[in-house]
Subunit: 219 residues, 4 copies
Amino acid sequence: MSETIDLTDRTAETDRAASVRLNDEKMRQILEGARRVFLADGFDGASMNDVARVAGVSKGTLYVYFQSKQALFEALIREEHRRTAERLSMFDEAEPDVALVLTRFGNALMNFMLLPEHIALVRTVSAAAAKFPAIGRAFFDAGPQYGADRLAAYFSQQVEAGALFIDDVNLAAWQFLEALQGGHLKRMLFCVCEPPQQDAVEKAVARAVEMFMAVYRPK
Amino acid sequence: MSETIDLTDRTAETDRAASVRLNDEKMRQILEGARRVFLADGFDGASMNDVARVAGVSKGTLYVYFQSKQALFEALIREEHRRTAERLSMFDEAEPDVALVLTRFGNALMNFMLLPEHIALVRTVSAAAAKFPAIGRAFFDAGPQYGADRLAAYFSQQVEAGALFIDDVNLAAWQFLEALQGGHLKRMLFCVCEPPQQDAVEKAVARAVEMFMAVYRPK
Amino acid sequence: MSETIDLTDRTAETDRAASVRLNDEKMRQILEGARRVFLADGFDGASMNDVARVAGVSKGTLYVYFQSKQALFEALIREEHRRTAERLSMFDEAEPDVALVLTRFGNALMNFMLLPEHIALVRTVSAAAAKFPAIGRAFFDAGPQYGADRLAAYFSQQVEAGALFIDDVNLAAWQFLEALQGGHLKRMLFCVCEPPQQDAVEKAVARAVEMFMAVYRPK
Amino acid sequence: MSETIDLTDRTAETDRAASVRLNDEKMRQILEGARRVFLADGFDGASMNDVARVAGVSKGTLYVYFQSKQALFEALIREEHRRTAERLSMFDEAEPDVALVLTRFGNALMNFMLLPEHIALVRTVSAAAAKFPAIGRAFFDAGPQYGADRLAAYFSQQVEAGALFIDDVNLAAWQFLEALQGGHLKRMLFCVCEPPQQDAVEKAVARAVEMFMAVYRPK
DNA sequence: GATGAATGAGCTTTCATTCAT
DNA sequence: GATGAATGAAAGCTCATTCAT
C-alpha cells in the first residue's frame, strides 16, 4: 500500500532496480524533468510523455528507472523535501538577543517559503495528499512540523535560561511561524503572482517578532 | 483565455445556454455531483463520467448546462466561494470587549476552516490555481482576503474608538488570522487526518487573542 | 475471477452495460471483427486496434460494448461455441441400420470439424485455455464432450434394443469420435493446410465405422 | 520468410553467430528458460524479459545466441520435437503377439502424450502454427506423422508375415493412434486439468487394441 | 431538453531490439 | 562474449466532447 510507505527512510538507492547500477546522470535528468513537469502541472495533470520530453530521455527509459508514474512522483517529492529540510537554518543559540535570532530566522524562512518553486511544491503536494497520504505526511513531517519542532526546542532552551516565559512551547512555535506569513504565502498559493516586496515581508517578520515578544518576554 | 475570466462578476445565468431556461433542479443536481467529485479527486483527477454518474444525469446533459469541464469546474468554485463568503460571520460592533469579539470570531472561523470539505476545497483550488489563475484569485478575494478586509475594518473602528493601538490594521488582521490556525490547518492540508480536538483549537484561538491583545491593547 | 465465470449460463444481454440498450448492429459488427482477428491471431496476438479497424468502429466503442479485451474474447468464444453446439446433428433413431447412421453422422461431423474456421477456433481456444481455464472448459463441454454424450446416449439406446453390445458406451463414443479423424484434424491443426480430399475423409469415416462395428455388433 | 525455414534440417550450430563458438552452458540455460516461459505463456504471451530472467542471463545475451524472439522460439520447438522423436519407443518386432506389442506401445505413448508439459507444447505449437507454419509442420512431421509412419511400417511387416490383414496401413496406423486417446488428450488440451487416472488410460488402450484386432486380425 | 452511443486523441505501461562498454 | 542501459513503437484502456434521436 502506498499509504504505508515511509518516505523519510528511503534512500535514493532503493528507487533503483535491485542490484543494478543505473546511470546517475540520467537519474538526475529524469528527476529534474519530473520536477519541472510535476510542479507545473500537478500529479494528474502531468503526463509521462511530457516528463520524458522535458527530461530529454525516452518514455521507456523512465520505466527503467522508476516502476510507475506514482513511484517517480514519490521519488521526486522525497528529493524535494530533503532539500527543504536541509534549507531550514539553525538557530544561533549563542546570541543572547532572542528577538534578533527570531528576526533572522523569520526572514530566512520567509525568503525560502515564498520562492515560486516552493509554492509550486506546496500546491502539488497538498493536492497529491488526497490521493497519496504518505506523501503529504512525509512532506509535513520533514517541512512544517520539523521547523516547528526545532523552534519549540529553541524556545524550551530560552525558557530554561529565563529569557522567555512560555507554557506551551509547541503552540508558541506554530503561532510564530504562522504569524510570520502575514497572508503572503496564502496570496501566492492562490494567486499565482510574484513574490511580495522584500520590505513588506521584513515588516511582517518584524511585527510577528514584536507580537511574540510582547506576550512571552519576561517583564 | 481562462486567465481573463472574472468569476466574481458572473451570475449563474450567464453559464446557461443563451435564451434557454434550463431546469433548476438538474442544475443543482449537476453542481452537487461536481462538488462531490471535483473536491474528492481534484480537477485533473475527476472525470466527467464520474460527475455524470454521481449527479445522476447523462453525460450529454452535462454539456447542455456547461460548455466544458473547465466551465463546470469554474461554476462550482464560484458557487463554493459564495457559500464561503456568506459563512464569514460579522463582528458584533456593539460589544465593548474586543477580546471577546475576537475569540468568538476566531472560534467560528476555525470551526469552518477545519471542516474536511473546506480543506478539500482549499486543496483543489490551490492546485487548480496554477492552471486557472482566475479561479485561485476569485477564491482568495472572496475568502481569505475578504475576511482580512472585514477584520481590518473592524480594527480601524476600534482604533478610532481608542480601544486598540494599531498602525497597520491590514497586517494586524492578517497576522491574527494566521496565528489562529496554530498549525492545525496545515496539518489537515497535508496529512489527510481528522480535524483536531475542539479544545486544542480553542486554546490556539485563546492564545492568538492573548498575543494580539498584548501588542495592540492600549496600556 | 475469470476462472470462475460460467460461460454457458451467460446470455448476450449480460455483456452489455447494465440497463443500456446498445445498438445490435454495432454489437454484431464488433463480434464479427473480433472473430476475424482473434481467430487469425490468437488472444495475445490480436490487438484491440486491429479489432476496431476490422470491425469498422472506433477503439473507444469497443470499450462501450465490452469492459476489456478479455471480456470481448470471452463473449466471442461464447458466441462461437453456441454455433458449434447448434451444428451438432442429431441421430436418426428410427433408422434401423446403425452403420448407416454412424456413417452419416461421421461424415457430417468431419465436414464441420475440418473447416478452416473451426480449426482456427480450436487453436485459439486451446491456447487461451492455459490463461483462461473457464473458456477452455466451456468450449470442451459444449463441443467435444457434448458430442460424446449424445453419441453415448444413442449407443445406450441401441444396446437396449439389442442392436449393439457395448459395456462402456462413453469410452466407445470417444473412441469412435477419435477414430473418425484419421489424423486429418491433427494435420490441419499443425500444418495450416487445405482440408483433405473429400474421399479421403469419407474413407476414414467408413473405416472407423467398420472398426467400430467389428467390435460392437452382435455376432 | 519464416514459412520457408525447414526446421528439420537445421543443426544447433547454424543458430549461432557465424564463426563464433558460444558457451554451451549458456545455450542450455537459455533454452531451458525459453522452454519454461514459452510453454507456460505461449509465443505472444511470453516476453524476452521473462525468458532472460528465468534463464538467468541478460537480455542482451539472448540476442547474442539468437537473432530474434522468433528464432529462439523456433530453436526451442526444434529442440523439443527432437526429444519427442527420441521418446517414441520402437516396436519389438521379434515379439509374436501383435496385441501385446500394440498394448505396450499404446501405454508408453499415452503416458508421454498426457504429460502436462507435452500438453503445453501441443497448445503452444498449434497456436504458433497459424503464424509460423514451418514450426507447426516440423512438429507434426517429427511427432504425430513420424509415429504414424513407424507404426505403419510395423503393420506392413506384420501383414507380410501374415499376422495382420490390412489394405491401408497408413490409415490403420492413424486410426489406432487416435482411438488410443479416448478423449483424454482433448480434455487436457481444453480443460487444464490433471492427467487422467492410470487405469482409465490403460482401459482406453486395451479397448483400442481390441477394436483394432477385431478388424485386422486374420480369422 | 435530455439522452447515451460514438469518437479519436492521449494516457500509462510493456516489449523486442540495439549498442556502448 | 556478456552486459544492461536505452529506445520507440505499440499495447490496452480512458476521457472530454459531439451528435442523432
